[in-house]
């Protein structure tokens, strides 16, 4: 899980172009979206859906599910662990 969390942080930084953000700046349990968190928005949610399918083969049919799945790095990692295709 810790390995996946570390990898996810790097992938998110790269994919969402967070050029000045380092993995250690992202707290595992802080909200990714909205103010008070990483400040991601609805377009980022779509990009994360693409990332999930591209890198982990997991397809999210309903973007609204994203709210719970992408709440934090940890919730995302847990979702991937549960749903990743072998």
């Amino acid at each position: 899980m810790e390995e996946l969390i570390a990898k996810l942080k790097e992938q998110i930084i790269a994919e969402l172009n967070l050029e000045d953000v380092k993995p250690e700046d992202i707290n595992d349990d802080s909200p990714l979206f909205g103010e008070g968190g990483l400040g991601l928005d609805s377009i980022d949610a779509l990009e994360l859906i693409v990332l999930l399918e591209k890198n982990y083969g997991i397809k999210i049919e309903d973007p609204k599910e994203g709210k719970t799945i992408f709440y934090s790095i940890r919730t995302l990692a847990e979702y991937i662990t549960t749903n990743k295709k072998a």
Binding site: N17, L18, E19, V21, I43, L46, E47, V50, E53, K54
Partner: protein, 356 residues
């Protein structure tokens, strides 16, 4: 319908950014195209905003902010942009992605960034500006249309000031593709010696220049933008000569009243002949400057010309490196900027010294 140029932000292939007046040192290009020198855009755009901005959007937003700083302004009453090609890099990226991935797993950010008005809206978002916003996308009329829109807004008193800019970029792919139309130089030419060339073709460039136009002159004003006009496919050079003379007459002038010409010479022998033929008739011995050896050829290059003309009028200096022939006498009061693109789009800008 005049307006005053009261702030400038010019990001170009020369060191024009954050520098009032003229670059002291010129940058020479010997490759396929001239590219902008990007400032430290982190000074102007925060992380969460800039991560979704391609190179030319970063340049445009930075130029807009530099312009507003120069004018001592924070909130424009309108924002208008001219761009001939838009964010071509993002368009190429999204298109390539569509084609290579058979339309699957596409990044929506690149699609969003490829829309032509994305820069103008990003500037508005950065400034929280809910005022009038427009984007013109008509080749070498793009920046001129934006200026006409801005000047009309001021004349209508719908806006007391307008942030107006011209922005275009060049990419390796666009250079290669458009090169098939035979418009670029085939041989290696130094940009600084472009205008000495007697072959066909020119060298592409790019730029992002914003101007703060005001209804009245203020402390930060450079010059008066008195009139702008566009002419589409004049049938003969006699007709274009007549267009120029009518334009001047409309502004109470004749060709004698022009102190300095700033022409869109671009080193293409046929294109440059269009200017020479007419100038020999109506502007004989006129002090003449050029600018595309500094910024390259692109649809909104007159934005670079306007920033140079403004500086000339304010500082009452004409840089040697812009002068083609016939040194001007000071004071320089009236500058006529004239550019054309393939003899299809001609534009005239009348820029004048602010008389106290």
């Amino acid at each position: 319908m005049k307006a005053y140029i009261s702030g400038i932000g010019n990001i170009s292939p020369q060191k024009t950014c954050e520098q009032k007046g003229f670059p002291e040192e010129l940058v020479e290009y010997t490759g396929n195209f001239l590219q902008i020198i990007l400032p430290d855009y982190k000074l102007y755009i925060d992380l969460m905003a800039r991560r979704r901005m391609g190179r030319i959007i970063k340049a445009g937003v930075s130029a807009a902010k530099i312009c507003l700083n120069d004018a001592g302004a924070t909130m424009p009453e309108a924002i208008i942009t001219g761009t001939g090609l838009g964010c071509i890099e993002d368009t190429e990226r999204f298109l390539s992605s569509v084609l290579e991935n058979q339309e699957r797993l596409l990044n929506p950010a690149h699609f969003m960034q490829s829309t032509y008005n994305t820069l103008c809206s990003q500037i508005a978002i950065q400034l929280s500006c809910t005022n009038y916003n427009n984007t013109f996308v008509h080749r070498a009329f793009s920046f001129e249309s934006a200026l006409i829109d801005a000047m009309m807004l001021i004349a209508e008193e719908r806006a007391g000031n307008v942030l107006v800019g011209g922005v275009d970029e060049i990419t390796a792919n666009h250079y290669a593709i458009s090169g098939k139309l035979g418009i670029w130089k085939k041989e290696t030419v130094s940009s600084l010696h472009l205008l000495e060339s007697s072959t066909e073709g020119t060298i592409p460039g790019e730029g992002a220049a914003y101007f703060f136009l005001t209804a009245q002159p203020v402390d930060t004003s450079y010059a008066c933008l008195t009139d702008v006009a566009t002419f589409y496919k004049p049938k003969t050079s006699a007709q274009m000569a007549e267009n120029i003379q009518k334009f001047l007459a409309k502004n109470g002038m004749t060709s004698k009243d022009i102190d300095l010409l700033m022409l869109g010479f671009n080193g293409d022998v046929d294109s440059d002949e269009v200017y020479n033929r007419i100038c020999n008739q109506i502007f004989d011995k006129k002090p003449t400057t050029a600018y595309k050896h500094l910024c390259g050829e692109f649809f909104t290059s007159t934005s670079f010309a306007l920033s140079m003309a403004s500086a000339i009028l304010k500082l009452q200096q004409v840089p040697e490196y812009m002068l083609i022939k016939n040194s001007p006498e000071l004071p320089v009061r009236n500058i006529l900027v004239w550019n054309h693109y393939h003899n299809a789009e001609h534009s005239l800008l009348l820029v004048q010294r602010i008389e106290k």
